[in-house]
């Protein structure tokens, strides 16, 4: 009897902690929607002309990385944001330096750790989503899932009654992105909590 009770109590604690994490992240998104959507829109605009991804390589923003993608090669550079090398490199690759540095500053403010344009395939056609990860302070340093990742789609997506992202309409197959199940925020955005940011 004691064991039985113990199981029920542990299961309730686990369920409660899962739902509170989801509520936390959904609330967090709602509170910061304007800035997150702005980061996504500006990223998409720059990416359309000159593809790139941006990463933060340590907790204190002491090292950042940029991946500049050309037709033939991808350049991966790491910088100390305090130095001029980042701006010089952006200049060399003909980016609008001021626009890029403002974007990175906003990302830093939101604790974004990774932004990229990720491909996925539907009915034999390649499509793209913006994949944005944040290091979520409220998740605490001891949790394994430290990163709150949002996937922004161009088209409305389909979800099951538990809010999980589905493969396509009228499908029961759950679509995984980077091996993770994503949950609905709205028709074009979904999130997951993950141990990794990319």
């Amino acid at each position: 009897m004691k064991n039985y009770l113990l199981h029920i109590i542990s299961a309730s604690i686990i369920l409660a902690s899962c739902s509170s994490s989801r509520e936390l992240t959904a609330d967090y998104y709602r509170q910061n929607e304007a800035i997150l959507v702005s980061i996504k829109d500006r990223y998409k605009k720059i990416h359309r002309e000159k593809p790139f991804s941006f990463e933060v390589r340590d907790k204190n923003y002491d090292e950042v990385g940029i991946e500049i993608i050309t037709d033939s090669i991808r350049y991966i550079y790491h910088f100390n944001p305090g130095e001029n090398n980042l701006a010089d490199t952006l200049q060399a690759f003909q980016y609008n330096v001021a626009e890029m540095l403002t974007l990175f500053a906003d990302m830093k403010q939101m604790r974004c750790t990774w932004i990229t344009n990720l491909d996925y395939h539907e009915r034999g056609q390649a499509k793209f989503m913006v994949f944005l990860s944040l290091r979520h302070n409220k998740l605490g340093s001891k949790r394994k899932e430290k990163y709150f990742t949002v996937a922004f789609f161009d088209q409305p997506q389909f979800f099951d009654n538990k809010g999980r992202l589905l493969d396509k309409e009228k499908s029961r197959t759950i679509r995984k992105i980077n091996g993770q199940v994503f949950y609905k925020i709205n028709n074009r955005a979904c999130f997951t909590l993950s141990g990794t940011f990319r």
């Binding site: 340590d58 990385g65 090669i73 550079y77 790491h78 034999g124 430290k146 091996g179 940011f197 990319r198």
Partner: protein, 332 residues
């Protein structure tokens, strides 16, 4: 010397594995015993195969056996077949488009995301570069007959593999490349290393598990057999090679042949902000060039995930990341 270090590493891995299995024997006696027996059998087979490689008796002088234009001309001339009765989920039109991609854009060959196919993708660079015609002919035979040989290596995939190719999903551009899925699954099914012992038979989703993983010895063995090349290797699965100056060592070999690096991917592509004390290699890349910028920076130009990349790293990071260096000379 190389083989001495190599055999020392193998011995170390054997000791670690045996210790693990003896420990496991307390809980599951039967399973542990079968693991020990299988491991010893394959380890001894591996040793004898490795020593036979030192003769290099069967190699010829040229490694370039066909060209891209020959492969394209052959693909234009060959009559398109109906659906394969073996590869039921691979549509013939898509299959032929994939073969054309192999012949025309070998550097776009993509291993997919969140799976363990990087080793198979890295080594495929050599057949695509040196023998695109032979590789396309092999792939067509495999598609039509459900079995085929490449450089005398026989591939006879089981029912699970035949049914799965074409169905792998959420892997990026690999979703659209059932021919590459066929090849990766066949390689993973055909070659086994000690990491695969815990999961020898394919089940759905195993492309992401230890079933598809590749230890360093298995990678070198695959390269020798599939590409019929002399292969020299330094390094192990757990201990970094003892090389005084990795940059000079790698640069010198790169001038004379093809170099593959076996490295700790977490250092190359950081995925989280906590560092683990236990560092292990998990990724294979084809190294295309290495340049010293100054005393603190090295440019490595490599190929993985279907794209050429230039990454600027420090000499310290190069030393920390590289666990294995495989070198295949440009002559046979």
């Amino acid at each position: 010397m190389v083989f001495l270090i190599y055999s020392k590493a193998k011995f170390f891995i054997l000791v670690v594995y045996l210790a693990g299995t003896i420990f496991a024997a307390y809980s599951k006696m039967k399973q542990a015993t079968s693991h020990i027996l299988i491991f010893l059998l394959l380890f001894l087979t591996g040793l004898s195969t490795a020593s036979a490689k030192n003769n290099y008796g069967y190699f010829t002088d040229s490694i370039q056996t066909s060209t891209q234009s020959q492969a394209k001309a052959w693909l234009d001339s060959v009559q398109r077949t109906d659906s394969s009765r073996y590869w039921i989920n691979v549509h013939p039109d898509v299959f032929f488009d994939n073969l054309r991609g192999f012949a025309t854009s070998p550097l776009k060959f993509y291993e997919g995301r969140t799976n363990n196919f990087c080793a198979y993708s890295a080594l495929t660079y050599l057949p695509l570069k040196n023998d695109p015609l032979g590789f396309c002919q092999f792939m067509l035979k495999l598609y039509q007959e459900g079995r085929a040989s490449y450089n005398d290596v026989k591939f006879k995939p089981g029912k699970g593999i035949l049914a799965e190719a074409g169905l792998l999903k959420y892997k990026g551009a690999l979703d659209l490349n059932p021919a590459a899925q066929m090849w990766f699954l066949c390689l993973a099914d055909r070659f086994k290393g000690y990491l695969n012992f815990v999961n020898l038979n394919f089940d759905k989703g195993d492309e992401n598990t230890l079933w598809a993983s590749t230890n360093f010895s298995k990678f070198n063995r695959m390269l020798r057999k599939v590409c019929r090349l002399k292969v020299r290797a330094r390094g192990t699965d757990l201990i970094r090679p003892w090389i005084k100056d990795p940059y000079s060592h790698i640069a010198e070999r790169l001038q004379r042949g093809t170099v593959f690096l076996y490295l700790n991917n977490k250092l190359l592509y950081r995925k989280k902000h906590t560092s683990s004390r236990f560092s292990i290699p998990t990724h294979y890349i084809l190294l295309l060039d290495i340049q010293k910028v100054d005393d603190t920076k090295i440019n490595i130009i490599y190929w993985d995930y279907g794209i050429k990349s230039l990454q600027q790293i420090s000499p310290k990071l190069l030393r920390k990341a590289v666990f294995g260096i495989t070198y295949a000379p440009n002559v046979k």
